[in-house]
């Protein structure tokens, strides 16, 4: 019991502590690819610390939804992150929710964020909310199907069971084609859900293109800090999902200080690698027009559907 609580707390602290670093790493990678020095890796921490200490300006038109949303978003994202195996394959809270729960918990946060975007009455917020709704609507089916394709091999939709069983397989995945298709689909979903290029550009505040940034335009001070932190955690959550579902090697499959320390180190290395990849993609591609995003996300859906069909064809 004590160990379970301890592992949960450690996981929460790890997610909270590492997530701003991942953002810093992506920014650094992009800067280096643009032949700039770029700010240090720790810049997101400084930014957040400063934001926490700043005054909050709230709109007179807004309601308690505006105040509550940062805390709701923070709490739903962190709860979702506690259901995902990070450094140990069987997380203590795994019985509280499976992958569908993770998807719907994140949707709860998105729901409140959409409301907050509308709350201040500004057209920018409404625009961001409206666009976020369509992007969320198109990603979710692809996400559910791609996870299901992986879950079929493991015979479960519980993340811990999927990761644990895949980690215990010696010599790799049994059917590579469905896994690769599902991986590609989930990667596209990750880019869309976390608001990265080519779906959304986190570095822009241009009204023609912004989605996520438009929704949170009215936020300042500690509210903004909490929202930024939650977005960083969401990104880390998705990177963790990808690395641990498709390449769970190195994750601790049993409790023990040595294995768990190794698990943390391997997880950190894997997510940093994926973050560098995202930095590379952001440097290589331009943001898609909003109505071209549909095709991109449709591709993810088709890929995940093919993963399921391939699974059944290969199994006969």
């Amino acid at each position: 019991m004590i160990e379970s609580v301890l592992i949960t707390v450690v996981q929460a602290v790890l997610i909270l502590a590492v997530s701003p670093f991942i953002i810093g790493l992506i920014r650094k990678a992009k800067a280096r690819l643009q032949c700039r020095q770029g700010p240090g890796f720790l810049q997101p921490y400084y930014d957040m610390a400063k934001l926490f200490r700043k005054d909050v300006v709230a709109s007179t038109h807004s309601s308690w939804i505006f105040t509550a949303t940062p805390y709701v978003l923070f709490s739903t994202t962190l709860t979702a992150a506690l259901l995902v195996p990070v450094f140990i394959s069987q997380v203590p809270l795994n019985f509280a929710g499976d992958i569908i729960t993770v998807v719907y918990l994140l949707a709860l946060g998105t729901f409140f964020l959409i409301l907050a975007g509308l709350d201040a009455g500004s057209a920018f917020g409404g625009m961001g909310s409206s666009r976020e709704a369509i992007v969320a609507a198109l990603t979710e089916p692809a996400m559910i199907l791609s996870i299901f394709a992986v879950g079929l091999t493991a015979g479960s939709t519980n993340l811990s069971t999927i990761v644990h069983r895949t980690a215990l397989l010696q010599g790799g995945v049994t059917d590579p084609p469905p896994h690769l298709l599902a991986l590609a689909a989930l990667f596209i979903v990750t880019l869309a859900e976390t608001g990265r290029v080519p779906v959304d550009n986190p570095a822009t505040h241009l009204e023609l293109t912004m989605i996520h940034e438009a929704m949170i335009l009215e936020y300042s001070g500690r509210y903004l800090a909490l929202i930024e932190w939650a977005s960083a955690m969401k990104l880390l959550l998705f990177l963790t999902l990808i690395s641990n579902i498709f390449a769970p090697w190195g994750i601790a499959t049993a409790q023990g200080p040595v294995w768990m320390t190794l698990g943390v180190a391997v997880w950190f290395a894997k997510t940093c690698g994926l973050a560098l990849l995202i930095g590379l993609i952001e440097s290589m591609f331009a943001k898609l027009r909003l109505f071209r995003v549909t095709d991109f996300l449709g591709l993810a859906f088709i890929l995940s559907l093919m993963a399921i069909i391939f699974f059944y064809i290969l199994r006969g």
Partner: protein, 669 residues
Amino acid sequence: MVALHGAGILLPIAFYNNPHFQNLSSHVAAMAASAAGVILGVAGLLAPMPVIFSMPSNLPLLSFQLRVDPLASFFILIISLAGWAVSQFAMGYVREFEGRHSIGVLGGLYNAFLLSMMLVVLADDGLFFLIVWEVMSLVSYFLVVTEHEKPETRYAGFFYLIMSHIGTAFIIVTYLVFYQQSGSFSFESFRHPAAPFPEGMRTLAFAAALIGFGTKGGIIPLHVWLPYAHPAAPSHISALMSGVMIKTAIYGLIRVYFDFMGGTAPWEWGFAVLAIGAVSALLGVMYALMEHDLKSLLAYHSVENVGIILMGLGAGMIFQSYGLPTLAALGLLAGLYHTINHAMFKALLFLSAGSLFQATHTRNMEEYGGLIRKMPWTAFFFLVGAVSISALPPSNGFVSEWLTFQSLFLSFQIPDVLMKIMLPIGAAMLALTGVLAMACFAKAFGISFLAMPRSVHAREAQEVTMSMRIGMGTLALFCLVLGIAPMFVIPSIDRITVPYTGASIAGRVISENGLAITPGMEIGFASISTPLLAAVLAILIPAGLLTAAAVGGRIRKRYYKTWGCGIDLKPRMEYTATGFPQPIKQVFSMIYRPMVKLETEMMEESHYFAKRMRFETHIEPVFQKYLYDPVVSVLNRLADRLRVVQAGSLHLYLTYIFLTLLVLLLWVR
């Protein structure tokens, strides 16, 4: 129990003729009857054997027989729980009609409506069922046309009347097939016919039941009456019609398929139900997104949710056909769980819509806005309903939708590859439905309650009376309880499904410590624990607050108006209920076929300045245009032809009667 039940039925009728305190008496009587109904429902679910009440009748073929079995009790419970809260709400709500309409008639019909729904699920005789079913349809028609002075209400009522009679006609076909095979209208003989049915007759009976009950339930393409009838009726009536009455269709389908037919059928039947469910769910939510009449929006969401319920049922039927009783029980469990959930949150949402209508005198969301400050309670209850219907954890909608997802994913146990692939596609459609529902309620809540008031009505709105708030609060509480206490709900639903599937799954679905639920497979397959999720969420919100306080100290907050690019922000600059789903409309333009008309009138002096602009946009009502309009026009043309025989002369009619008599006499000779 018999006495209580008798009181539950007689009380509304006894008070019906009371001219004094019509409002109070009718709704207090309805509340008392509903309380009795709750007791009956719980008792019926716990009773070891079905209880049968018989009343003698001297009419041929007809017997007034009532049967309280777990399935009927479950629906009695749904009707009573919703009926109790709605009656509480109605006490405050109908005051608006005072002076304009007879409260006594409204209250009496309201009681008759509740009673007829109870009798529909209790009836144990085919003919008796049809009679009370027809009473239910007619009474609800009268309630829909309460505000009959408005032409659109009369049209809505007429439309509803026609559609429900088409539905009843198909149900009659089903029961006639059963009667022909078994020689009696008693449900007992339907269950155990003397000779096994020929396959063709069974298919006919099932297809007719699907169409007949589907019309009442609002499956696509038979859903067209819902977006007319629900907005036209007074809101507490729409809450009952949408939350409860359309559930009698689910009851009828389960009764016919699992009870009468024993649940054995080829997989195509289950697949048909699943496919209809998936299409209804997806198209229902898509049309809902485009509505800005709040009650039409909710009506389309009823189409969606009936679709989700049918997806659960359909999955259960498919599993039953392949001889997988535990999975069949899981599918049924998911469907029935969603049935009670939908009854609660849809009634809640319709009551909130009624409160908004009473406060603002409009149903158009474009004229709401900023109501969260004027009506904080209504806003909060609407938010609870919105979170529940969007299936966001830890609400009740999440539990039942999760069970539906799991029963669709467990399709990998079916030995047929086609089904193995089709059911996950159904799950993907369910996922899309879920997110679109979330988007739709983000729009409904955001446009109605947040930002600035968009009209004088919204600026002058006031919070509704206490009795209305209690009514909504009761339903919100039911939603929360159904969400975080599934371990108490599942065993009772299990009692319904055991006789039909032969498998008890409550022990497998609920984990040993009672905290988590799983789809009843091996350990570790998948599980959720809504109480735990609620606890973790509740712990982490203060954690966020504390972190912020620890790093930043005391909060210093300033208020300032929203930046409007240098000019004063006006309500006209806000995002509208039409603008919000615009990207969705564009992406799915294949389905919506939107029509946009823009007329610009230029100034005479210059062609660069517009004097007047007119913008019009609407989506194509595909089903009405391509399915209903041709039928209606053919019927109208036929009627025109037939007018020749109807000259209005009494002598001519007497001749017709004489001729008919002659032909009949010759025929029976």
